[in-house]
């Protein structure tokens, strides 16, 4: 009966998706018996976050460039809804994940990600890279970096707070949009930034900051594009590099980063191979391409971050007009690993207080 219903009702629509989904269902049932199925040999599945694969992001150019280089292969970018979500996702999927490469974790999550035992050594030589810190990891390949900063709309806010203290004590109209540290690497970045600045007093400062927070979003994209650029709040947690994009592409100085006296927290974004991947050689080739000049060229204006190699004259001129952090803050990954849960609980606690 139901099949007749299905057929009668849907066949006039020539419904392609239906057949796909039916196949999907059959496959799904089959997959539940034959475990850990991976896609064809020449498809490299890369878990990343949404803004990386967006039309204007670096994803499309990198995909095209790499596919040209490797000959007969395909990159399958899987855009997850947030950056820290990438780690959660491979943890949830465990050994059965179909990801070959994860792209978009950061320095803060490295130790935690390594502890899951799901990642494999990259085999990529990172010694020639130019980073603000020494790179020692064999597992992670850094592909860009930046400093967290609050970006403000000069049309809504004549002058921005110059420190956390000033932000906490700012007038009523200064509202910020931040990201959830459980799902977003900038969100976690802010948590650690506050921790690096305030240490044990961080919880109190979070409680004091509450009146300034308009909303907490799951990922960076919603906060920046959907809310901040639509004028929902005058300030948003982003990167010191963000104004570079507006200066280069939109040709406007309207959006600026607020330089904080306490210094800015560094984020290095990384990619890594999955231990369960049967295509490690292809994955390694991709990671090597990621730090190649060709791929790095799409980082400054694609991901709006600093490249990890010297692009010389190819670095957009506006990048020299960005704020210089008074000091660079970074908490060692191991310390984050040992304390993340406690710090997040602390954050949840001070954010759930009324």
């Amino acid at each position: 009966m139901i099949m007749t219903v299905l057929r009668n009702w849907l066949s006039p629509l020539k419904y392609q998706g239906l057949r796909h989904s039916l196949q999907g269902l059959t496959l799904a049932i089959a997959a539940s018996f034959s475990l850990g199925t991976h896609a064809e040999d020449n498809v490299l599945t890369v878990y990343t976050y949404e803004s990386f694969t967006a039309e204007w992001g670096p994803g499309p150019a990198i995909k095209e460039g790499f596919e040209k280089q490797c000959g007969n292969c395909t990159i399958d970018f899987v855009a997850l809804d947030s950056s820290a979500g990438i780690l959660n996702r491979v943890q949830l999927e465990g050994e059965n994940t179909r990801a070959d490469v994860v792209l978009g974790l950061d320095t803060n999550l490295m130790a935690i990600a390594e502890d899951t035992g799901l990642l494999a050594p990259s085999g990529v030589n990172t010694s020639a890279l130019q980073l603000p810190i020494d790179w020692e990891s064999d597992t992670f390949v850094p592909f860009d970096y930046g400093y967290f900063a609050f970006v403000y709309d000069t049309e809504a806010l004549a002058s921005a707070p110059k420190s956390f203290e000033a932000l906490i004590n700012a007038p009523e109209n200064v509202k910020i949009i931040i990201q959830d540290p459980r799902t977003s690497t900038p969100g976690l970045g802010l948590l650690l930034w506050m921790k690096a600045v305030y240490g044990d007093e961080a919880a109190e400062k979070w409680a004091a900051l509450q009146p300034r927070i308009l909303t907490v979003t799951k990922g960076w994209s919603e906060a920046y594009f959907s809310l901040f650029l639509n004028g929902e709040a005058p300030m948003v947690l982003s990167y010191s590099t963000s104004p570079g994009y507006h200066m280069e592409i939109d040709k406007t100085d309207r959006y600026q980063a607020a330089a904080f006296e306490e210094g800015h927290y560094l984020q290095v974004e990384v990619a890594a191979l999955l231990e369960s991947s049967p295509k490690k050689a292809l994955g390694q080739q991709f990671l090597n391409y990621l730090i190649d000049r060709e791929a790095q060229l799409s980082i400054p204006l694609g991901n709006v971050m600093f490249p990890v190699i010297d692009l010389e004259n190819s670095l957009p001129p506006s990048f020299s007009k960005l704020i210089e952090p008074a000091s660079t803050l970074l908490i060692p990954a191991e310390e984050i690993r040992d304390n993340r849960k406690q710090w997040i609980d602390e954050w949840l606690e001070s954010s759930s207080a009324r």
Binding site: M1, I2, T4, V5, L6, N8, W9, L10, Y15, Q16, G17, L18, H20, S21, L22, G24, L25, L27, A28, I29, A31, S32, L35, G36, T37, V78, A79, L80, D81, G85, N88, R89, L92, E93, G94, N96, T97, R98, R182, T183, T215, V216, K218, G219, S221, E222, S226, L227, N230, E232, K341, I344, D345, W347, L348, E349, S351, S352, A353, R354
Partner: protein, 561 residues
Amino acid sequence: MAGILVGQISRLQYSLNRTWPWWSGGVVALVVIMALTIAPLVSMLVEAGTIDWKTALSDTYTQRVVWFSLYQALLSTLLSLGCAIPVALALAHSPSFHGRRFLVTLFSLSLVIPTIVAIYGIVAVYGRTGWLSRAREIIDLEPLSFYGLSGILIAHVFFNMPLATRVMLTSLESIPQSNWRLARQLGMSSLSIWRFIEWPVLRGQLAGLALLVFTLCFTSFAIVMTLGGGPRATTIEVAIYQSLRFDFDIPMAVTLACLQLGICLFLTLLSTLFKTDSDIGFENVTELTKNTASSSLLINTALWDSRWQKLASLMFITAASLFVIAPLMALLISSVNSSTLSVITDSTTLRAIANTCIAALFSAVFAIGLALGLLVSARHLRIRLQYSRSGQWLQLAGNMILIIPPVVLGTGLFLLLRPYADVFSIALLLVIVINSLMALPFVLRIMDAPMMRTAEQHDKLIRSLGVQGFSRWRHIDWPQLRKPIALATAFAATLSAGDLGAIALFGSERVTTLPLLLYQRMGSYRMEEAAVTAGLLLLLCLTLFIVLQRLIGGKNRVVIT
């Protein structure tokens, strides 16, 4: 070739017509239900054994979440019932105005409209860029801060006030004529009527109704996830989801799931105290056709004839109608916009539509199958063997999901299956399992009485003629059960098509359904696309509801008008 085929068919007919042991259906259904609920539960409890409960329970965040869940549910219940009483009275006192029937039907429809769709409508009215905020801007007021507790409360009242109103109205309309006659003869004032006639009737309903609304709000998922969700406004149900999908904090998820399970068990036990009312909400859906403009009340209008009473009734009815209609209007209006065409032709949307249909239809079939299995055996127990009690117990097995909230069941299934499979690739299957169990109590409610009736009416005849197996089904049961089955299928499919709980837990970019897509689009504040998606989902649910009833139940009647 043809011979083989004929042989096959006759063998099939034989096997269909032979007597299956009466218990086979019940046992199969029972085993399936138990396997699908107990196994995940056990794997969860095994995990719970490793938890240090003392530290887990002294965690401030956990305590706040539990407290907030109870607090918001209590407030929602008070507000919903508080608003429902005057509205129900106003409707009872004005039994014959234009559009009354439409309004009362609309009040029941809020049970069929997918939660997430209504949430979109509510956001479109009360959200930061919604109608109300824009209206406030004109008179120079700050836009409303809507997310958080206030948003959750508005949405809960939107769903539960109409439900409570319907139930109260039904009981007000069932007040016997003799009472009214007495009131007229005694010349009672409207205050005494309230005190001696109306209030006692409502009071009888109130405890059960309050518990129902409280339970619904306590386990509410989509509303809290969409309108609250931040650390300040999270219920246990949403916190379970977050600890699993945000944190990969399995101990936390299990702790919260156990707490949720305990509280739901308590609420269920409590509801058996008011057992006549435990399924009130549902009666309203099954009786959508019933004309509620009760004639008995018509002659009583003289009792509330004063001008201010009429004015008060008018005010309450207008306010309630606006409250319920505005979000639906906002949705309908905004769902046609500049991105309508691109969303409808978008491959993600199309795939989500297909997935939604598949999930809905399979869940419905699965739920009906389980319900038939249970009921066939239960009626044998109850009618032929006269074991009425055990028959009812068998049926109660179908209500397991009322004790185990979908997100808890999902967490259990996740723990159970993770070592063996990538749960995200079998998302659709898991969604079907959870949704069909969710629909089962409703399906049982619809099919129970008709199933028993056909047996009671025809049992002697059936026995004397020796009709059994498939023939009995075809000639005696089917003609009578067709309509209830059609309604149950339609209801189960609609419920499943609009559900966000299971798919939120297991959905991903690989498997999305319309509710999840709508949630994501709202979550990333792409409101135009969200509007179209909401419109599509509503259209799909209504289509499923009507088409399934027509196809299965025959052309004559579609229960909705």
